[in-house]
């Protein structure tokens, strides 16, 4: 399948185009074309994977484990599609919400660099190549944070860069150790070696380094400090993009590594993860309820939701992993959407602070509906998308008799509900506070809400067609838990 390389190659070509283009009108049109192409492409790959099973491509014709292999299994294919959906919504959003038109072309250059990095991370089958994609993501996201050059942005950007570089450093150290021990960095080959290795304790030093590195990227407790330090500073478009994609790449890497080849001493690592998942959920949820800036509430919320995904990995039954995948899918869409709503609130009321906004229910009922859908989806109200993955995770937890983590998950849902109701009460129900009358207000039209409508519809459909998605994520989880198919496809290709 030569088409596997296209989710990486197409953004690369668009980067080139945006370097050459100066006019922001053309750049805007081209960015929407680019995102649409990516969506079509990822849907094509998704259905190919669904028909034919795992797809692989040996770059340059060098066979695994010598060359770099790109692999798309059910899990990666799903992630590619979600990434493309978010990318499309964000590019439409930039038409109205990105200030400074002269910066549009530069924004798109690094937007597509980020898309290239994320797609690369989701498709690669090589540990070092994954490291490279993480760096591509890190560099492009740093530039996206500081576009605009305000002092707060630079401060947030530097914190983000510094703390993430520590993660990259640990990743590289773990990678070096792993290569020294096994002599290979191809994930399938590693799985083949490590799954049959009697001296499994020797691998734990690498496992620990990778665990901390991905923990930083995924923003789990107690490594999440970079996220609340930086996510409230950039333009809301950028924050929404990051909320959907960045931390989830870390979670993806955790799930991939700990199902595929870090399976030695599993009892220890999984119980560690369960503790971390519980703490991440509860502490993220508590911190979210303490804040009044919408962006800060939602940023802490990202952290608490990461806990659910780690919880699925920690329970490690097919149902739990399927729940984690379904949860990622739902969370990426709904989380991005709540940030987009925050951007619309800012546009219409001139502030992100809950004390300074209000009365939106009367001013714009459609926006209220568009907030309610992702908010209730995140809380887990049926029939929206959040209910089913949470149900799967909690059911798997009860089946595995991990009652503590189930309790943490239920309590966190209460925190989520509390902070969503807080936003609802303050921004939508409360009377418009007179102080903010001074701010410049812009009227909203329906075109301004198109990306929100797209993502809200996706959330609703994920809930309505939950059975189909449940079957698909169960198949993906089976593939992850029993990776013999994955190993076979990569190592015996052609």
């Amino acid at each position: 399948m030569t088409a596997i390389v296209l989710p990486i190659l197409v953004p690369f070509l668009f980067i080139l185009a945006f370097i050459a283009i100066k006019s922001h009108r053309i750049a805007q049109a081209l960015s929407i074309i680019g995102s649409s192409i990516l969506l079509v492409l990822s849907l094509y790959l998704f259905f190919q994977v669904k028909d034919q099973g795992i797809l692989t491509l040996n770059m340059g014709g060098w066979k695994a484990p010598m060359g770099i292999t790109l692999v798309i299994d059910y899990f990666s294919a799903l992630m590619l599609v979600v990434t493309a959906v978010i990318g499309l919504a964000i590019t439409i959003y930039t038409l109205y919400y990105l200030p400074g038109q002269h910066q549009h072309t530069r924004f798109y250059v690094f937007f597509f660099a980020l898309m290239m990095g994320v797609n690369g991370a989701f498709t690669t089958g090589d540990v070092f190549n994954l490291y490279v994609w993480f760096e591509v993501i890190l560099i492009s996201s740093f530039i996206l944070i500081i576009i605009g050059h305000s002092k707060a942005q630079l401060e947030g950007g530097i914190k983000y860069m510094a703390l993430n570089l520590i993660g990259s450093l640990l990743f590289l150290a773990g990678l070096g150790l792993l290569y020294g021990k096994t002599g290979t960095l191809n994930m399938a080959h590693l799985a083949e070696i490590l799954r049959t290795d009697p001296q499994s304790t020797l691998i734990n030093s690498s496992t620990a380094l990778f665990f901390i590195a991905f923990g930083i990227k995924a923003a789990v407790f107690p490594l999440f400090f970079w996220l609340p330090a930086s996510y409230h500073t950039p333009n809301i478009t950028v924050t929404a993009l990051f909320a959907g994609l960045l931390t989830k790449v870390g979670v993806y890497a955790l799930i991939r590594f700990f199902t595929l080849f870090f399976v030695q001493d599993q009892s220890f690592w999984l119980s560690t993860m369960a503790v971390i998942a519980g703490l991440t959920m509860v502490i993220g949820g508590m911190a979210a309820s303490a804040h009044y800036d919408i962006r800060r509430i939602l940023s802490y919320h990202i952290i608490s939701q990461i806990g659910y995904m780690i919880m699925g990995l920690a329970i490690f039954t097919p149902l739990a992993i399927a729940g984690a995948i379904f949860f990622m899918l739902h969370n990426m869409i709904a989380k991005t959407n709540t940030f987009l709503v925050a951007g619309v609130i800012h546009r219409s009321q001139g502030s992100f602070h809950l004390k300074e906004v209000g009365g939106l229910l009367k001013q714009n009922p459609l926006l209220a509906i568009l907030f309610i859908i992702p908010a209730f989806a995140l809380v887990g109200v049926p029939p929206l998308s959040g209910f089913f993955p949470k149900f799967m995770l909690i059911k798997a937890g009860i089946e595995a008799q991990d009652y503590l983590i189930v309790a943490a998950a239920v309590i966190t849902a209460m925190f989520t509900l509390y902070s969503k109701i807080k936003i609802w009460n303050q921004a939508f129900l409360k009377k418009d506070p007179s102080s903010s009358q001074l701010n410049i207000r812009k009227s909203l039209w329906v075109p301004h809400l198109i990306p929100l409508i797209i993502l809200a519809l996706v959330s609703v459909f994920l809930g309505l067609f939950a059975a189909t998605i449940f079957d698909y994520t169960m198949a993906a989880a089976q593939q992850l838990i029993d990776p013999s198919d994955y190993i076979h496809h990569v190592l015996n290709n052609q």
């Binding site: 030569t2 080139l16 370097i19 491509l57 340059g60 014709g61």
Partner: protein
């Protein structure tokens, strides 16, 4: 700095370094060298020149701007994907043509060379961009 000796030497050393950069680029496929190292050497030649003559003069003398180098380099890199994609082969698969040159042996040209030249140009552009940005703000 305004030293006659440095300025006189810089002209020749720049040419030598450039030549060495191209050699490093061309031998890089099977030996130490390649686009990245060659690019660094070439950028070093220009930076060395700027030490002798000052960065303002160096920028004026540059026929191609650093950003242009980067975009052309990335363009070359993407060109090297084309043959494999057209022939429905795995991306970046190497394609070679051998041109016999009589006594001089055979000249082997291929898509990895195109890729390497792209990296070469991109590295020159990035290094010069870093250098000039830092030295301007000093």
């Amino acid at each position: 700095m305004n030293s006659i000796i440095l300025q006189l030497a810089a002209r020749y050393i720049k040419a030598l370094l450039m030549l060495f950069a191209v050699i490093a680029l061309l031998r890089g496929h099977n030996h130490p060298g390649g686009g990245f190292i060659g690019g660094l050497l070439a950028a070093l030649a220009i930076i060395y020149y700027s030490f002798a003559f000052g960065w303002q003069k160096t920028i004026l003398n540059l026929r191609i701007l650093p950003t242009t180098y980067i975009s052309w380099g990335l363009g070359m890199v993407s060109l090297s994907f084309v043959p494999a994609l057209l022939m429905q082969q795995p991306a970046l698969k190497g394609h070679w043509v051998s041109i016999p040159l009589g006594i001089a042996g055979t000249l082997k040209l291929g898509t990895p060379l195109v890729f390497d030249i792209g990296v070469f140009m991109a590295v020159i552009g990035v290094t010069l961009l870093f250098f000039f940005t830092l030295i301007k703000n000093r």
